[in-house]
Symmetry: C2
Subunit: 309 residues, 2 copies
């Protein structure tokens, strides 16, 4: 029941000797979702011992090179490693043209299924039994999209000991999970809360990069467990942040606070900063639970029951 994200790159457009460009790998129930794929992503995947073969879905936020230049090498390596499963790519339409053109020059042993992101729209772009992925518009110099990965509504869980005690049938269990009380053979009403544990909370992770400060995203990312929000600059460069449609650490923290998230991850650091402490320090003035991402680190969200629900 894993729900975690591993950060593979933390730099902005210019990588440094110690920081790679953007890529995150979300593990939701051993399904792996790659979000952005900067140059060297395949090298980072290997370094941190993540299997290429488990990635079936790749989401590209926007078409600045530091967010997708690693895709060609990754596709080539997947093919060399014998991949035959389809790979789903979610991106703006021009990436399809770029890929089609590049793929003329080498043969992939698998199919790419391309899902076009529509500019400026909030839309569900993926779902399965457990997870739903929603994209939403960010505010950047070119079309840029955020992604929200959220577990679906969870049912209550039956207390195991009650199944035997009340001799519950499958049919009873289905009803009880939906919230009904149980009436036993003698006509006694057993209240639902005696029969069940509260459901697990829906876990959620939101990815917001690249973007200027834009509170219009707050309703979409409200209450997520982990918010990754770019913070290319510290407060000393807030004019430059505005001019380039990027955010400062403080602005990321403002969004985290407004959206009442549980944890804020900061990243996409400009190469001009060698010491990154200023990002955490400034963000924590506004939102305490702020952290600079560390490449190779995995941030997990544990299952918790909704006792307050």
């Amino acid at each position: 029941m894993t729900f975690s994200v591993t950060v593979l790159g933390s730099s902005s457009a210019l990588p440094t000797s110690s920081r790679y460009p953007t890529a995150h790998l979300l593990n939701a129930y051993e399904r792996f979702f790659l979000i952005d794929c900067g140059e060297g992503t395949q090298i980072q995947l290997r370094k941190f011992r993540m299997k290429f073969s488990k990635i079936n879905h790749v989401f590209i936020s926007h078409l600045h090179g530091d967010h997708y230049f690693g895709l060609f090498g990754l596709l080539s390596s997947m093919s060399l490693l014998g991949r035959s499963d389809n790979l789903h790519i979610y991106s703006h339409s021009e990436l399809k043209n770029i890929l089609d053109f590049q793929l003329k020059y080498y043969h992939l042993g698998f199919e790419i299924v391309f899902h076009e992101l529509i500019e400026g729209k909030i839309a569900v772009i993926y779902e399965d039994k457990q997870i739903q992925v929603t994209t939403f518009p960010l505010n950047h110099r070119i079309a840029s999209n955020g992604f929200l990965f959220k577990e679906k509504t969870k049912e209550k869980n039956i207390r195991k000991e009650m199944v035997d005690y009340h001799q519950l049938s499958i049919r009873d269990i289905v009803k009880i999970k939906k919230g009904e009380d149980f009436i036993d053979a003698e006509g006694n009403i057993v209240p639902n809360e005696n029969l069940t544990h509260p459901p697990f909370k829906q876990r959620a992770y939101a990815f917001c990069s690249d973007t200027a400060f834009d509170p219009s995203i707050v309703p979409v990312i409200e209450g997520v467990d982990i918010l990754y929000h770019e913070s290319t600059f510290a407060d000393d460069m807030k004019i430059r942040a505005q001019d380039t449609a990027h955010s400062t650490a403080k602005q990321a923290a403002e969004i985290a606070k407004m959206a009442n998230v549980r944890k804020l991850l900061l990243g996409h650091f400009s190469a001009r900063y060698t010491d990154l402490e200023v990002f955490e320090t400034e963000a924590r003035q506004i939102f305490k639970n702020s952290f600079n991402v560390i490449e190779g680190q995995t941030y997990s969200v544990e299952l918790e029951r909704e006792y307050n629900s």
Copy 2:
């Protein structure tokens, strides 16, 4: 008067957690020539503290991704770093199409001057006062070119003390450098060898990757100081080497021996090998001065006078 090559990548098509794909950086008199540009080359350049801005010429051997997928990121970073000087790229013509297509999507602040490599021909593709670059055909699954970087013929050097002693004019010096004797005011003939040091040897470095074993390249690379020859496989995989148009370490050593080079560098190691010792061991059975390349290491050729000439 530096003449050295720094190896930035040593892996074949699949990078590993410790090996990057192909890229070499030749420093000839502080002119920097980049040969191949696999994914992550810009990251390696930064790691090893090589300045992007000094690279004005990029040579791409062939259009398998592990030899050029780093080019897009490098160009983008050069532009972000404020480059305005032209960049010369020497490659097969399809790369121009790929670049033109990619460059539609972002603006470079400098011009690319594209020099097309003609398949199957030996040709001089670059020269300046000190250096000449010759390309020659390799033997691979697609058009693949080797590159020979060679200093031009050197003149003899005047012994400084002789200039004062014989009161030599500029005109005298020019003649003496070309090998003439000197006749002083009293009509004495001073032999040229008393007036000069022998010239420095022409230094040379040859890059041969990717290629199957092919002795037809021997006359071109004859006597080079450093031969880089791919050795994707050890002898256990020689059938696979043949099938994929790659070489074994032994085959690279055979070429080094036939061409009577001074030092052989082995690289382009298949990801299936974690311990690379076998490459050196096998190559040294045939050519003693064989070395596995080490990423980040610089291999220099010192100036030596031609005392035997």
